[in-house]
């Protein structure tokens, strides 16, 4: 399991990028952006994991036990919030663009060429 997890992180990262590049629907691009972000969770999770460590909550276990890295989890918490909020904003833009232009396909929306 050593480097397999990092391989999964890279694999999901590339599929997220592929989704954005190849999509013909703005909503699909937003979802692919979410997939791209989940790749950072897998990477951070792998970096923070300790074999034999348990969750860093000491409500029921003594303080000295080996635990997983709490810092990485705090970073991931912030990441989840950022993902949801930025995506809500982007999807609102898609709805508004659809309302005005009548289409969600970036090809047809291309007014700003040149």
């Amino acid at each position: 399991m050593g480097h397999f997890m990092y391989g999964v992180a890279a694999w999901v990262f590339l599929w997220g990028l592929y989704g954005i590049v190849s999509s013909r629907n703005l909503v699909h691009q937003c979802v692919s952006l979410a997939i791209l972000q989940t790749s950072t969770y897998v990477l951070l999770l792998g970096i923070g994991y300790r074999t034999g460590g348990t969750a860093p909550v000491f409500a029921d276990i003594p303080v000295g036990t080996l635990v997983v890295d709490p810092i990485v989890q705090s970073l991931m918490l912030t990441d989840v919030v950022v993902e949801v909020t930025v995506l809500a904003l982007l999807i609102a833009m898609v709805v508004k663009a659809n309302e005005l232009a009548g289409t969600v396909d970036p090809e047809e929306l291309r007014v700003l060429t040149g």
Partner: protein, 601 residues
């Protein structure tokens, strides 16, 4: 007590933003605008005080009283050094001028105040941050408030697609930064920049190189460096003018500042051995950006996109200075950032006046319509002279310092890149003003971008230009000229640059609180050639603009015709399709990554 002032440039605008948003339904609109201007004015005072306090020793402020435990930084800190303090002062000043100009905006833009306050707070936090993840959070807050500000003018489909491209590309850049950050944390087990800098001393291996690459690419997306620059023109066509003052005035420069901050605070220890290779990569990136930006700027006929491309060109020039990875160039970089921020802010404010008075921003439609105006052409001319780095403006002092720093590395040829950048951007703005305000020559060729027109954003498009739009523009451009008369300006900038690049002193002050005595640096001999070359640049810009305007009569009309319509490849590259932008982002990262791999062997 100066130390108590340190968090205020970030906290006070945030509380003001929350307050404005809470009381907005109960108070008349002018209270929100007044609170916004008050918050910006407070920030200007506060950042000025902090800048004054850091002349002898940088200030370190640990949040929550979490002082470092030996070599481990437990909490997060703000580090106020002269260079970041001056950039924060620039941020606050531009926001103050933008707030004055936003009084003229339509009431529908009532959500502008809290978002602009958050935008200012995020940029001040970004500049002061001493922690790597804190830097990312301010970067994300800057982006989130910028996306929201692009939603203000939702009448036509074009702006929304521009805002979406801006949002998507910057978010992908943000995820590159997080990946790089995770790698640095895996290697050093720390998030504080000084502690990382102290740990990363061994020769950089693949992990350190790739994390530096991913993080710089993420910040260069915000810094509009080719091939990551494609979103900038769309975003400027979308944002209201006071917002554009901040976008181009300082947000783009912060992307380049971040590259410098990453290198000198953390990676210098392990990347110094690759100095020449890195220098070659980043200087060539800056050169390509300057050339592409200059060409596209001259070929653009939509005023705000024209100014956006000139920002790309100048961002490339700034990356050349940072890409030298030498502390001597940082003084020039600082002056160039401040000068460019002020001049570009003034030009966008003048663009706001043009949109307000003449209702259009497309050059073909504006041909000769601006004859009635007297002072606005003067602003445009002064702005063009400022961008062309004519002597008497900050950009010229900054430019000569940067070129002086480049000569020891046999990069003397970059003076011609600066020359090209100044001439192309200056000539484009002069051409626009000759055609619009004097109506000389034939109307400009219309292309797809210039037909996209702006909806009116200001109230009662009356005959006269309101003072609240003219005074900020004049002050910004005036400041860019007047600051050169400060006697010891370049010495102050040079010492700020050298202290910024002094990693051992940075680590000592942050981790151990010891105010190390500034290591003496020998000021580079000043070269006389600077002023001659920049006056030549100004003259060449004027000549090029005149020739383009009256190209029917001039014999080289074929060349100018081609130049003005722009290189077709570049025009099509700017396709307005977010998928393309992210494709070029991936291709760019892979190409630079390839150069990094070659660098290692």
């Amino acid at each position: 007590m100066i130390r108590a002032l340190v968090p205020l440039p970030v906290v006070v605008p945030m509380i003001a933003a929350a307050l404005v948003s809470a009381i907005r339904p109960f108070v008349p609109r002018w209270t929100a605008a007044a609170l916004f201007t008050l918050g910006a004015a407070f920030n200007v005072w506060c950042t000025a005080m902090l800048f004054a306090a850091t002349t002898h020793a940088p200030l370190v402020y640990w949040f929550g009283n979490w002082w470092p435990r030996g070599i481990l930084a437990v909490g997060e800190c703000f580090v106020i050094a002269p260079l970041p303090a001056l950039v924060a002062l620039l941020v606050s000043t531009l926001t103050l001028f933008a707030s004055i100009q936003s009084w003229q905006l339509k009431p529908a833009a009532s959500h502008l105040e809290p978002l602009m306050l958050l935008f200012m707070a995020a940029m001040c936090g970004f500049v002061y941050a001493g922690d790597l993840f804190n830097l990312f959070v301010w970067f994300e807050l800057m982006s989130a408030s910028a996306f929201a500000l692009c939603g203000l003018k939702t009448a036509e489909p074009a702006p929304l697609q521009g805002a979406f491209n801006f949002g998507l590309t910057n978010s992908v850049g943000a995820f590159f930064i997080i990946t790089g950050l995770a790698l640095v944390y895996a290697r050093t087990g720390a998030l504080n920049m000084a502690q990382i800098g102290a740990t990363l001393t061994a020769k950089a291996d693949s992990l350190v190189l790739v994390s530096f690459l991913l993080m710089t690419v993420g910040y260069m997306v915000k810094g509009a460096i080719v091939p990551f620059h494609l979103w900038l023109a769309d975003a400027h066509a979308v944002a209201p003018t006071p917002v554009c003052v901040l976008f181009s005035g300082v947000m783009v420069e912060l992307g380049i500042y971040a590259v410098a901050r990453l290198y000198w605070a953390m990676f210098e220890g392990s990347l110094a051995t690759y100095g020449d290779g890195l220098r070659a990569i980043y200087v060539s990136l800056g050169t390509v950006t300057a050339i592409v930006g200059g060409l596209m700027c001259f070929a653009e006929h939509h005023l705000k996109r024209l100014l956006a491309y000139s920002t790309i060109c100048h961002a490339g020039l700034m990356l050349i200075a940072v890409g030298l990875f030498d502390s001597a160039a940082l003084g020039g970089f600082l002056l160039y950032v401040v000068g460019h921020g002020l001049v570009k802010g003034g030009l966008f404010a003048s663009a706001g006046i043009v949109l307000h008075r003449l209702q259009f921003v497309g050059e073909p439609k504006l041909h000769g319509r601006g004859r009635g105006l007297v002072w606005t052409p003067v602003l445009f001319m002064a702005g063009a002279a400022g961008l062309a780095a004519v002597p008497g403006f900050l950009l010229e002092t900054g430019e000569s310092m940067m070129i002086r720093a480049a000569t020891p590395f046999h990069f003397g040829w970059i003076r011609w890149i600066f020359f090209f950048g100044s001439v192309s951007t200056g000539a484009a703005i002069l051409r626009f003003s000759f055609r619009t305000f004097f109506g000389w020559g034939a109307p400009s060729p219309a292309d797809a971008a210039s037909r996209v027109d702006e909806k009116q954003e200001t109230v009662e498009e009356g005959r006269k230009v309101p003072a609240c739009m003219f005074v900020p523009a004049a002050l910004m451009i005036g400041l860019a000229a007047m600051l050169t008369f400060i006697p010891s300006l370049s010495e102050v900038a040079d010492s700020a640059g050298h202290r910024f690049a002094d990693r051992p002193a940075y680590i000592a002050t942050v981790m151990h609180g010891a105010a190390l005595e500034m290591s003496q640096f020998q000021a580079l001999p000043s070269q006389g050639g600077g002023t001659i070359r920049s006056t030549l640049a100004g003259a060449a810009a004027v000549l090029l603009a005149l020739a383009t305007v009256w190209r029917r009569q001039s014999h080289l009309s074929g060349v100018l015709e081609h130049l003005e319509c722009g290189v077709p490849v570049l025009r099509h590259w700017q396709s307005g399709h977010a998928g393309d932008y992210v494709l070029w982002l991936t291709v760019g990262t892979t190409v630079i990554g390839g150069c990094f791999v070659l660098l290692l062997h």
